[in-house]
Structures are given as structure tokens and as C-alpha cells.
Amino acid sequence: MSASKVKKGSGGGGGLGARPEHSSDSPLSIHAVTVAYHRKPVLWDVDYDAPSNQLIAIVGPNGAGKSTLIKACLGLVPRASGEVEFWGGSYRQARSRIGYVPQRESVDWDFPVSALDVVCMGRYRKIGWCKPVTRSHKEAGLECLDRVGMRAYAHRQISMLSGGQQQRVFLARALAQEADLYFMDEPFAGVDAATERAIVEVLRELKGQGKTVIAVHHDLQTVAEYFDRVILLNMRVVAAGAVEDVFTRENLHKTYGGRLTLLSEAAEAIARAGGR
């Protein structure tokens, strides 16, 4: 609904308190992205440049558009306006360098495949159309399962796994993609302590390999421990930057205690006004 209207704006940079984080080889730059579901805006004019080789958390209250931001970057939800660039190029060009861990609830876990099958799906792109999954790909898949401590469960049907184990399988699948930039949607949601540790270990490992991870995170307690940078999101970027600079009481208050409900009311009023 807002497509034509939001013109590319007055001045760059992030929102309040955000320092511009431009770098020539930024793996992800988001420019003025707006997303609306039906009449409700979910993301409003989001600007962000992700620095390379960092673990970045997206933090914000429920309904703040955290998952939507990831999906908008990946083209899974239509953007009303704005642009997303990967390493200065289009999503299409960068696709093989991007990994994705969707929310665990997004799939039917009663599906007739084993954990290893799911992990191998991460390599399908490399395998290509119509060609079967070969032994070497399965080996690579096992390797990835090993890295998340799930090798012993490789041949279990996925519904037999606990929630945390399912999450680790998803993580292993992302590893199998061998990407440079990972998007993870709530990787820590509803997992047990062992899985949480395994995931954190994998995140650090990825960072050690020079990769970038952007994860939706819901637990404010662990943000500083697990991540280097944080994006505070509530429909727009409230603040973004290094955890120690940005993750302040004041910013959190702005993110969570915000008065932004008014904006969404206003947007609905626009839609209604259109119906006169």
C-alpha cells in the first residue's frame, strides 16, 4: 500500500544513536525497507549496514518485525519499498553465499525424512536439478551433524527428535550450505541448555571462519554474551551497533516501551481514509 509513497529519503545512516556502519564489502545493506501485511506496517523505513565477520542479534518486542526483517532480506515477504544488497550486489547473485535457518515451527516435523536427509537438503543447490545425492554429499552432511553434536541421530526420523535436536538439525543444514552470511530466525527459541551451548559454539566457530551471522534473538540476558552487535528493532531500527555501545537501558526502553503503536494506528487511518 505504501509502495510508491516512501521516497528515498533525507539523509542516510541508521536511526537514533546508530552510527553509520558503512564498509565497502558489507555483506548486507538494507536501504529504506518498508514491509506491510495487509494494512498493518510491520517494518518502517529500515536502514542497516551489517559489518562483515560479526555475530549480530536482532532484538525487539513481539510483533516488532524481527522475523519479517530477515524474510524481507531474503525475498520471502514482498517489500513495499526499499532495497537490500548483498556484498554490493543483488540477492540473486549472492544466493549461494547465503544460509538460512528458519523458525522450527515453519515445517511439518512429521515429514518422512531422516535428520541426515534434512541436512543434505542444504547441499541440494550444489547438487543441482535431477541429480541424486551422492555419498560424498552424505559424508559432508554427517560432518555437519557432527559439528552440532548430532551425528548419533543421523538416521532418526525427524519427529523422533526433541525440539532442541530439531533446531540443531536445522543448524547443521545451514552449515551444509557453506554460506558466508547466515540468517537465523530464533535459533534459541525453545531449546534446552545443551542445544543452546552447541549453537553458541557453532556461532563462534562460524565467526572464526570469517562468516557473518544475523540472528533473531529473544533473550535479552544473553545478548551481550553471545553476540558482538545488536539491532534494536521495533518496526524501525531504534538503535544498531556494537553491543557495548548500543545495548543500553535507555535504548531498550525506547525499543520496548515505545509509543510506536501510534504509528500503526495512523497507518490504519490512512487505509480507512482511502475508503471514503
Partner: protein, 453 residues
């Protein structure tokens, strides 16, 4: 379904002789019959194989709408063929028409879902009934107005293998073979899209192209099956083998193979029966055959079958009730009394609805058998092993309480049954962690070794 056997008795069919039955089964009943049986079997195979993906993509009933939507196409193809001087009754022309309106029907469903707020069930119901109504109108128009009459077009509604010519059967078989080969080729892609569409998209697969191939195969099989089983029942050929196979296997390729086999077996059996006996429409027999296979699968399959699931549930309840008794008795002992329970206490503790009369003694027998308790005059008393076991159960309970406290945010997703039972869900690793936390609160959880006398 009880009426089936009865009606045959009422009707008093003249059954064919054994030699005739065996000849037909062995493909020695004449060329045309053989071709029809072959074609139907291949079709069953193809429908079973591609049906797996229709099921996994949650589109089982969309195929029903698709098959109903073919009817107006058949009628219109007949009319148009007549005007253009082609033989309107040639199967290829009719099936082409069927494909066109079938696809339009599916597109309409997608359109309704996209542009209105109606849900999928309503969209399917609308397309199914309106297109079929249109088909009925067109057929009745042909019936009363076309010179040659609509003779033969009705066979697409209920199916009629007897009316099939050799060429028709070969066409059907050929479509089936193509569908099977294509499915095997695209197995990997289909699985990916069915399992996790958004991941496939992010990964650079063209989901719409894969969907198109999948839907195209479903359309091909549906259209090919029209003449054999009829458009009302063709949906059953697609979904019943897949649903039945799902009970037996957790692996996709096994599922595909099994569904194909079930479909082929039903197709074979149905066409043989219909060739041998009068008034046994192949479509109905095929569907009933696969229905029987489905019923057997649902009841008897290991793991997912009703019987094995029931047995498993029963065992779990028994174990849990047993542990419950152990814990009760242990509690008595820990607070200074005897490690024992009276019969009344037992029946109070294991009451589960009407079954408690049977259940209580069974639970007690289980405890005796595992040598965890021994019989006393008015109830049970724990053995040494029983005391240890009771302590373990008590400890697990405490841990579970701590789990709820520490992981309040995620614990609910792990609660499958009641509080009493969840201790069987936690992993050992987690239990060790919780133990530490309990210790910090000053609660000591005994493993029972020290308590035993």
C-alpha cells in the same frame, strides 16, 4: 462396509470358474483385457507415486477439485471437436479438454485464495461443485442437442474399463510411465519443496517451477485415470496409497516405492475383478481394494499403527502408574513409616476412569514381577530395590519441578502429558544441571542408596 458381502449374496452373482480367474490373473485372458489390466496397473503405480507428493504438499483435496473440474472440458472438447470435424470421441481430444478445464479449476482455487478471504476448503468446494455443475450442463446439452448423442461421455464420471480400447489403455499406460520416470528424476526437488518451501526459495530453487512440474504430473495422472476409475474416485487412487504407505515407513523413497506398489496392486486387482465379474465397476473395486489396504495399514502397521500405538500407550501408563506407587510408598518410608501402601491407597493412587478395576492389579503385578515390591496382608511393601527405585522417582520429580522453575519459558513445549509423567522426557544431561540448581536451593535429592535398609 458390512453391507458389501451381504449384497453379493442377495444378488447371487454367477462367479467365474477358477481356470478363468487364473487365466485373467496371469494375463492370459485375451489381448484387449491384458492391455487394460496392464494400463490400469501402471496407472495405479503412477498415481501412488505422485500421490505421495500431493499428500506431503497438503494438496490431497485439491486433486479432487481438479478431477471434478475436468468434466466440462470433456464435454466442450467433444463439442469443439465435432465443430472442427475431428472425431469428438477420440480419447486424446477429450483428455486434452479435460486437462484444460482441470488446470483452469486449479488456477481458480489459487485465485480465490489470493484475492478473497475465503479459506482453502471453501475454495476447493466452490471449484469442485461449480465446475462439475457446468460439466453436467454441458453433458446434458450434448445429450439432447448433439446429433450423435453423448453416448460414452458419462463413462468419465464413474469410469468404465470395459469401454476402453487397446489404444486408450496404451495411452493411459504411457502417461503413467512418464509420470513415474519424472517423479523419480525430481524426487529430491519435490522433497525439498514439500518439506520446507521457504528454505528452498532462499536456496535459489524456483519453487514455482518445481510446483508446476509436481502439479503437472498430478494433472497427467488424474486425466489418465478418468476413463479407468472415473473423475469422482480418481482422487482416491492418488491419496489412499500414499496415506497407507505412510503408516509403514519413515523414509521418503520407501514411501514412494510402497505407495507405488499399493497403487499398482489395487489397480491390478480392480481391473481383474471387473474383467471377470459382471457389474463390478473397476473404479469402485480399485478404491475399495486400496481402502482395505489402508484399513489394514492403519490398524496393524508397526510404530504408527493403531494397535502398536495403543500398546505403547498402555505400557507407558503402566510404567508411570508403577512409578507413582513406588514414589508414594517411598514417601511413607522417608517420613518415618513403612515403605508400604494399603490396597485402598493403591486403588486411590492409580485411578484412571473405568479401567482402574483392571489397571490397579496389573500395575501391582508389574511391581511384583520386577521385584520392586512384595505382597503384604493388606497391600504392598517395597523391596530394597523398590526403595532405591522409589528414591530415584522422587528425585526426578523434584528435578522436574526445578525444570519448570528454571525453564519456565520453554518447559511448556515439553509438557506432553501431566506433570507426573514428564520426568520420562528429560535428558540425563539436563537432569545433572537441574540437580546443581536444586542443591543451590538447599534441597538434597537422594539417589536412594543411603535410604535403603
Amino acid at each position: 462396509m458390512a453391507g458389501g458381502g451381504g449384497s453379493i449374496a442377495v444378488v447371487g452373482d454367477e462367479l467365474p470358474g477358477w481356470s478363468e480367474i487364473i487365466e485373467t490373473l496371469m494375463f492370459r485372458a485375451g489381448y484387449n483385457t491384458n492391455i487394460v489390466i496392464m494400463g490400469t496397473t501402471l496407472l495405479g503405480l503412477a498415481a501412488g507415486v505422485i500421490g505421495v507428493f500431493a499428500l506431503l504438499r497438503k494438496r490431497s483435496l485439491m486433486t479432487d477439485a481438479l478431477s471434478h473440474a475436468t468434466l466440462p472440458g470433456i464435454g466442450l472438447a467433444f463439442l469443439v471437436g465435432g465443430w472442427m470435424g475431428v472425431d469428438g470421441r477420440s480419447l486424446a481430444v477429450l483428455l486434452l479438454g479435460a486437462t484444460v478445464t482441470g488446470v483452469i479449476g486449479v488456477v481458480c482455487i489459487q485465485g480465490i485464495l489470493r484475492y478473497t478471504r475465503l479459506r482453502e476448503d471453501a475454495a476447493i468446494g466452490i471449484v469442485l461443485s461449480v465446475f462439475f455443475g457446468a460439466g453436467v450442463v454441458v453433458l446434458s446439452y450434448i445429450q439432447v442437442n448433439a446429433a450423435s448423442g453423448a453416448a460414452g461421455l458419462n463413462k468419465f464420471i464413474y469410469g468404465q474399463t470395459a469401454a476402453m480400447s487397446e489404444r486408450d489403455a496404451m495411452l493411459m499406460g504411457a502417461i503413467a510411465v512418464v509420470a513415474v520416470v519424472a517423479t523419480v528424476l525430481f524426487l529430491k526437488e519435490f522433497a525439498l519443496v514439500c518439506f520446507n518451501e521457504s528454505f528452498a526459495r532462499v536456496n535459489g530453487w524456483s519453487v514455482s517451477a518445481i510446483d508446476l512440474i509436481m502439479m503437472g504430473l498430478v494433472v497427467a495422472v488424474t486425466v489418465a485415470g478418468l476413463q479407468a476409475v472415473g473423475l469422482i474416485l480418481v482422487v482416491a487412487m492418488l491419496i489412499i496409497p500414499a496415506v497407507s504407505a505412510r503408516f509403514w515407513s519413515e523414509r521418503l523413497w520407501a514411501l514412494v516405492v510402497l505407495a507405488g506398489l499399493i497403487g499398482a496392486a489395487s489397480g491390478y486387482f480392480g481391473s481383474v475383478v471387473s474383467a471377470l465379474m459382471p457389474r463390478k465397476p473397476a473404479g469402485a473395486v480399485i478404491v475399495l481394494t486400496s481402502g482395505v489396504i489402508f484399513a489394514i495399514s492403519m490398524v496393524c502397521a508397526p510404530k504408527r499403527g493403531v494397535i502398536s500405538a495403543g500398546v505403547r500407550r498402555g505400557m507407558v501408563s503402566l510404567r508411570i502408574a508403577g512409578e507413582h506407587l513406588l514414589e508414594e510408598a517411598y514417601g511413607r518410608g522417608e517420613s518415618g513409616g513403612r515403605f508400604a501402601l494399603t490396597s485402598r491407597e493403591i486403588s486411590r493412587a492409580v485411578r484412571i476412569g473405568v479401567w482402574s478395576v483392571v489397571f490397579g492389579p496389573v500395575v501391582r503385578a508389574g511391581l511384583y514381577w520386577r521385584r520392586l515390591a512384595r505382597r503384604t496382608r493388606d497391600g504392598i511393601e517395597l523391596t530394597e530395590e523398590g526403595v532405591r527405585q522409589g528414591a530415584r522417582v522422587r528425585r526426578n520429580h523434584r528435578l522436574w519441578e526445578q525444570y519448570l522453575v528454571s525453564y519456565a519459558d520453554i518447559a511448556p513445549s515439553h509438557v506432553d502429558w501431566s506433570v507426573d509423567q514428564v520426568e520420562h522426557v528429560l535428558s540425563d544431561e539436563l537432569i545433572r544441571e537441574l540437580e546443581t540448581q536444586l542443591g543451590a536451593r538447599g534441597i538434597v535429592v537422594s539417589d536412594g542408596v543411603g535410604v535403603a535398609r
